[in-house]
């Protein structure tokens, strides 16, 4: 339940960041169609990233409280994620599309870690 809730929130967040950055460079009304269409790939990307890179930390350490998992692994995940995103932006020669993609990916993954801990009933009892 908490994963599906977090995924929904992350789709919303990444969609907003992605299009906000692109609209800061260029905006016209024709793009709105693409905004709606982009929900599909954004949903796929978010679900795939969360299930393959974030959820395993919590699933594999199910004996630990989510907050403990967060404290133990989040820092390294954040640093690695930042390094990969910065590398992607740098390799694209700071193109606006790469910036929007990697900025939304970075911020969304970071916030998803927080949601997975905050929304967890195991932790709220403690």
């Amino acid at each position: 339940m908490r994963y599906s809730k977090s995924i929904l929130k992350s789709i919303f967040l990444s969609g907003i960041i992605f299009w906000l950055v692109i609209f800061s460079e260029d905006f016209n009304a024709d793009m709105l169609f693409w905004v709606f269409l982009s929900i599909i790939p954004i949903s796929l990307c978010c679900s795939f990233t969360i299930f393959t890179t974030i959820a395993p930390w919590f699933i594999l350490n199910s004996g630990m409280k989510p907050r403990e998992v967060y404290v133990k692994y989040f820092a390294y995940y954040a640093i690695l994620c930042f390094a990969l995103c910065f590398y992607g932006v740098w390799k694209s020669n700071f193109s606006i599309y790469a910036i929007s993609f990697f900025a939304s990916a970075f911020i969304t993954t970071m916030q998803t870690w927080n949601w997975l801990v905050i929304d967890n009933p195991k932790d709220s009892k403690s």
Partner: protein, 462 residues
């Protein structure tokens, strides 16, 4: 109040970096960072170590303004992470400072948001932000100031002229997003955080090796014998190598470029492997209780001998590299070799110190990483392109002119001055003029954020 400081910093951030190249803006950003860090962490900034690291950060910021080189930018980033990490935990090792600094810079906001939400959950009495008061303290002074500006505008033509020159057209969505990024960044570093398992582990690990009570004298005796035989044989081998090498160097009269180049590069490769293996072997034998074994004197002497012989090997390579530089001039690779040799010397010295004072592996990591950091800061404060050009043009026996032209703009004025005093080939003269004109054009097109020291020198070389 602290939010207003962060907001001011964020606006300054986007003013400095929005559609700008690196230059004065990076130096000013470093100063703003120090101010914000010191406002939010007043206590930490009273310690000598923090002041020392702040000074290194300032040195790199000044180096960017003077040279605008990649090395100074890299050193500035390292100094930034070191300082931020140090503010988060003063007693940790420098590599933990880098980790903490990077984590704070990247994700401080998210960790603090989590902690905040948890504390809100626990206390359940959220402190309400007084938005009305916030609007009052920002809105009322702003409105009054605008009214007075409009009044003064009509009363004074000079003031009117000054006000009409203020242009806010640069503010757009992208500029605002950059401001948000600036706020995020300054919010992150205002209260540095720690990577906790790593920081705690580092704080609990001392530099001294502890004696383990679970050992047998027989095993130690065998290990001591093995170490002694191995290191003695390695000593003999390195002596033979050094004798043959020194004989070759002193007896060969003609130095051919290809030979010398081959020798230096092969020598360096051999040296890299030999020093790494030497340190690994020493660390292996002196990893535990052999340090406390009473009959380890011979092994220790053999180890010191080996370290000294490796040092001679380093000196030998330095001589070869210096000869090479004397005949064919400086290049970044040749300077890199000298830097590597200096690091190797320091590494050998700290390894000897580890054996002598019975220290552990962490001691080596701590001292060596600190030395590498110090060397990075020192090397970023040197104008390498200018130094290479000056040496190659006026002191080396021969030089590769096209290599000098391929260097960064830091040697442009020097090359121009040289071309005015000396006769160059048509091609080289063209290349120097082109480089000079391009650089002058770039300097002239620099905005105040992109300015560098050469902007003030430009008139002198026109």
């Amino acid at each position: 109040m602290k939010n207003i400081i962060l907001l001011f910093g964020a606006i300054l951030f986007s003013t400095l970096f929005y559609k700008q190249d690196i230059g004065l803006n990076m130096s000013l950003f470093s100063i703003v960072t120090i101010i914000i860090l010191s406002i939010f962490n007043t206590k930490t900034f009273k310690s000598k170590s923090t002041i020392a690291l702040t000074t290194t950060y300032l040195i790199t910021a000044i180096a960017i303004f003077f040279y605008n080189s990649s090395l100074s930018i890299i050193a500035n980033c390292f100094a930034f992470f070191t300082l931020v990490g140090h503010v988060s935990q003063r007693n940790s090792s420098i590599y933990i400072n880098w980790l903490n600094g990077l984590f704070t810079f990247v994700a401080g906001f998210f960790l603090r948001a989590l902690l905040k939400s948890e504390s809100n959950k626990e206390s359940k009495n959220k402190t309400q932000i007084d938005y009305i008061h916030l609007i009052k303290i920002i809105g009322i002074p702003l409105a009054v100031i605008i009214v007075f500006i409009l009044l003064y505008k009509n009363g004074n033509p000079v003031f009117n002229d000054m006000i009409s020159k203020i242009d806010f057209s640069f503010i757009n969505l992208q500029w605002l997003l950059l401001t948000v990024l600036g706020y995020f960044l300054f919010y992150n570093i205002s209260k540095p955080i720690q990577v906790n398992p790593a920081t705690e582990l580092d704080l609990n690990t001392s530099n001294t090796l502890e004696k383990n009570n679970k050992f047998s004298i027989n095993t130690l005796k065998k290990e001591n014998q093995l170490g002694l035989i191995l290191i003695t044989l390695l000593n003999i081998l390195i002596i033979v190598f050094l004798i043959t090498d020194i004989t070759y160097l002193t007896t060969s009269n003609d130095i051919i470029a290809a030979n010398l180049s081959n020798q230096v590069h092969n020598g360096i490769n051999a040296l890299i492997v030999s020093i790494v293996i030497a340190i690994i072997i020493i660390l292996y034998f002196f990893r535990g209780n052999l340090n406390f074994y009473k009959q380890n004197n011979k092994l220790k002497i053999a180890t010191y001998c080996w370290i000294i012989l490796n040092t001679i090997l380093v000196v030998n390579i330095v001589i070869k590299d210096s000869q090479y530089i004397y005949y064919y001039g400086f290049t970044y690779k040749r300077i890199g070799v000298l830097v590597y040799l200096l690091l190797a010397l320091i590494g050998l010295f700290t390894t000897a110190l580890k054996v002598f004072k019975i220290k552990n592996l962490w001691f080596l990591f701590r001292v060596n990483s600190l030395t590498a950091y110090a060397l990075l800061i020192i090397s970023c404060s040197v104008n390498w392109d200018n130094l290479i050009t000056n040496y190659n043009l006026y002191h080396a026996k021969s030089n590769d002119f096209e290599y000098l032209i391929s260097l960064s703009n830091n040697n442009t004025f020097l090359l121009k001055a040289y071309s005015q005093k000396n006769q160059l080939s048509t091609k080289n003269q063209f290349l120097v003029d082109k480089k000079h004109n391009d650089f002058v054009e770039k300097l002239n097109s620099n905005t105040w954020q992109e300015m560098q020291f050469d902007n003030f020198n430009i008139e002198q070389y026109k």
